[in-house]
């Protein structure tokens, strides 16, 4: 049932057949045929960005909040190179993206033509896979194969580089049979080995100090995986902690929730990881922000590791029971096997462990000294959280990268998966604003807030213009401490408080800036006025840039210093690393 059409039309047809409703892009010479085809149809809506990096982060936010792949369309040369940061971000955080890059005509490839670059060469190491389409005959197969590769197994970004002459060429469009695709070897293992899962359940039935350590894999495996995790936690009675990427898979309101773990995780989560006798890692990858010092990482525990990517197993930490498979299927199987052996939590056996956890919790590691005169960043996020709950809307949070990101992870609480979008692996400043745009495109009626820092937000500030153009009422909540706070904190800890270039000077007037873009600007520096200002932000039906002037030298605690094990965590009251800043140091800032 082949249909004759141009390569450009095939691109749009394939997107339509894949159920794509929105794409994020920016036109240019080599991409014009595709843009022309876009212009003549109504199924796929195009969001015009201001910079291609913005397009990739928007697509990431779109993908994370919907579970569907995000689609990006950019031109050749600078269009493609500007997309590289977002592609790398998506690769690190396993986000399904399709990035269509236009290329100069095939006869000009290699001639250093205008706006030519070696897109497949440049993106080879920052994509899960990439294609250069040399013949229009291959285009339908490649388009559909790209979606398969991006969304299955461990998800990731796929680049399709399409030369301009291929976009113009006429060919037959067809729906390829996915079983006869070119890459016969690409068959991700979805089902975990039943014997291994049974062995894991048997260990769980004997554990006295168990902990679930869950990650982004649970989110990527879909909402069903979160449901299974909740059920498994309920029937086992085990405590649950999660990485930055996994927040929301397990409800923060559940008494079994320990909070986030890792470098800025809670005392109870990190101590539970250190002292446990059984660690059940579900869809996390023993990242260095989690493990701290590897040779002192959870020394007394046996470890179970569920991951869809075999290369994650034993990469950093040796595990006793590896289970390769999709988190949703493995969790379902774990629940089934556990239920066949036991029906309720072993409350008595776990009681001493929970008593210990209660003692750690009593430390109140997320506590901070509030102030009447200056807004503490933690307080700002707490008030934002409380106010957002009362809006009667779905609330989605995106962040930039730095202290504000960690405070958001600590003090904003998530009960549902896919509602928290942050750059974890790559740590991309400038992620949050465009990601919020992408989320709002997918969820027009939701409350979408970018919790930002004044440094990060300036990296992709221009996408506020996109939000205004498409009437996307995103709320940008800037914790403005006039510092690259996390950099400053590290300089405190490690570099004798020599604040090399970690302060923001010549900051724009964010209120005027918002107004210049056609949005609303609000500034607040008085703790007593914060609630009213947040209400004003929520009441405004349009994009808001909210400049919260916060305490300048607040450190983000608790913190596991690098090279230290989990039990050497710095707590807010046991050490004040702010003391390291002497008068001379302050004068320098």
């Amino acid at each position: 049932m082949a249909e004759k059409m141009t390569g450009a039309e095939m691109v749009i047809q394939a997107l339509t057949d894949q159920g794509v409703e929105h794409i994020f892009g920016y036109p240019g010479g080599a991409a014009l045929p595709i843009y022309d085809a876009l212009f003549q149809q109504e199924q796929v809506q195009h969001i015009l960005v201001r910079h291609e990096q913005g397009a990739t982060h928007m697509a990431e936010g779109y993908a994370r909040s919907t579970g569907k792949p995000g689609v990006v369309l950019v031109t050749s040369g600078p269009g493609a190179t500007n997309a590289v940061t977002g592609l790398t971000d998506a690769l690190m955080d396993s986000i399904p993206l399709i990035c269509i890059t236009a290329q100069v005509p095939t006869n000009l490839i290699g001639s250093d033509a205008f706006q030519e670059c070696d897109t497949v060469g440049i993106t080879r190491s920052c994509t899960k896979y990439n294609y250069l389409v040399k013949r229009v005959e291959d285009l339908p197969r490649i388009m559909h194969e790209a979606f398969l590769i991006a969304t299955t197994g461990r998800p990731g970004p796929v680049v399709i580089d399409i030369p301009k002459d291929v976009q113009f060429a006429l060919g037959d469009y067809y729906m390829p049979d996915l079983d006869t695709l070119r890459h016969q070897s690409y068959r991700p293992q979805m089902d975990g080995d039943t014997a291994a899962i049974t062995a894991a359940v048997d260990m769980m039935l004997k554990a006295e100090r168990p902990v679930f350590y869950t990650g982004g894999g649970v989110i990527n495996a879909g909402p069903e995986a979160s449901a299974h995790l909740r059920e498994l936690a309920e029937i086992t009675g085990f405590p649950v902690t999660s990485t930055l990427m996994g927040l929301g898979a397990f409800p923060a309101s559940n008494p079994q929730w320990l909070g986030m773990l890792g470098m800025h995780g809670t005392y109870e989560a990190n101590l539970a990881m250190h002292d446990c006798d059984l660690m059940i890692n579900i869809g996390a990858r023993f990242d260095d922000r989690i493990t701290g010092r590897v040779d002192a990482f959870s020394p007394g525990s046996r470890k179970i590791h569920v991951d869809i990517d075999p290369s994650s197993i034993n990469k950093v930490v040796r595990v006793d029971v590896p289970i390769i498979g999709d988190c949703e299927r493995v969790l379902a199987e774990m629940v089934r096997i556990y239920r066949s052996k036991a029906n309720q939590p072993r409350t008595e056996a776990l009681a001493p462990w929970w008593d210990q956890i209660a003692k750690w919790r009593a430390v109140d590691s997320l506590g901070y000294k509030n102030s009447d005169t200056v807004i503490k960043p933690q307080y700002a996020i707490e008030r934002l959280y409380e106010a957002s709950k009362k809006q009667g809307k779905e609330v989605f949070i995106t962040t930039e990268v730095g202290q504000h990101q960690m405070w958001a992870a600590q003090h904003f609480h998530f009960d549902k998966p896919n509602h928290w979008m942050t750059s974890g692996g790559l740590g991309t400043m400038g992620y949050g604003l465009p990601a919020a745009v992408g989320v709002q495109v997918a969820h027009p009626d939701a409350l979408v807030i970018d919790i930002a820092g004044e440094a990060s937000v300036q990296m992709t500030m221009q996408e506020l213009s996109t939000a205004v153009q498409y009437r996307l009422p995103i709320k940008i909540f800037i914790l403005n401490n006039e510092r690259m706070g996390m950099v400053r904190q590290w300089q405190d800890l490690l570099h004798g408080s020599r604040y090399a270039h970690s302060y923001s000077e010549s900051l724009p007037d964010f209120v005027k800036l918002a107004e210049a873009y056609g949005g609303k600007g609000i500034r607040c520096e008085n703790p007593a006025e914060l609630d009213a200002a947040i209400a004003e932000m929520f009441d405004y039906d349009g994009p808001v840039l909210f400049d919260v002037i916060v305490e300048k030298d607040e450190n983000c605690l608790p913190m596991i210093p690098s090279g230290k094990p989990h039990n050497e965590i710095i707590l807010p009251d046991t050490a004040n690393i702010g003391d390291i800043i002497d008068e001379k140091g302050r004068a320098l800032v």
């Binding site: 497949v120 060469g121 080879r124 190491s125 899960k128 896979y129 250069l132 590769i149 070119r182 890459h183 016969q184 070897s185 690409y186 260095d288 493990t291 701290g292 010092r293 590897v294 040779d295 990517d309 075999p310 290369s311 197993i313 034993n314 990469k315 590290w490 800890l493 490690l494 570099h495 004798g496 020599r498 210093p561 690098s562 090279g563």
Partner: protein, 184 residues
């Protein structure tokens, strides 16, 4: 100005490598498509793995499959990572660690140009005969030998030719295959 004297730390924790490094031969079956070699080689450079030797050629034209034979030097832990990371590449079908799997055959071909005259020329010919090297080109003052065998044999032949007027050497890199009836 004395920042380097201050106790500084790192955002990363580095562990000392305790495992001994080993030399292993991997056989990698891949789709023969543009960019596949760059993909494999890029993985090695991106992740800091060392390649000793690399040989690649299409081996099954009908199925458009190529076989890459790569000799790597790494610790046992890294060797497992190399195998798993290679298998993660979309066009990679299989990766076999021939060294770990036991009996395998390893061969390499070299073309070796030696120039000389008089006594040294006769000596060159005697040694070539002992190594079963074929003369593929000859002139009054030079030979080109073709020698096949294990890399160690080629190494020793080259070492012997050194004082006899060795001009240049070209080697194919290793081709390796497992013994017995089983294929990859």
């Amino acid at each position: 100005m004395n920042a380097h004297l201050q106790p500084t730390g790192s955002a990363y924790f580095l562990t000392k490598e305790t495992q001994e490094i080993e030399r292993h031969t991997l056989s990698v079956l891949v789709d023969n498509e543009p960019g596949i070699l760059a993909r494999v080689v890029g993985l090695f450079s991106a992740r800091g793995y060392n390649i000793e030797s690399l040989t690649v050629s299409e081996t099954e034209h009908g199925r458009r499959l190529s076989r890459i034979t790569v000799v790597v030097i790494a610790t046992p832990k890294t060797l497992i990572q190399i195998k798993l990371q290679l298998e993660r590449l979309v066009p990679v079908h299989k990766v076999h660690d021939l060294t770990a799997e036991g009996a395998s055959l390893e061969r390499e071909l070299a073309l070796i140009k030696v120039a000389g005259s008089g006594d040294s020329r006769a000596e060159t010919l005697r040694l070539a005969d002992a190594f079963r090297a074929q003369i593929v080109d000859a002139s009054v003052e030079s030979f080109v030998f073709e020698v096949t065998g294990k890399p160690a044999k080629i190494d020793s032949f080259i070492a012997l030719m050194q004082p006899l007027g060795l001009v240049e050497v070209v080697r194919t890199g290793l081709a390796a295959i497992s013994r017995g009836p089983q294929g990859m």
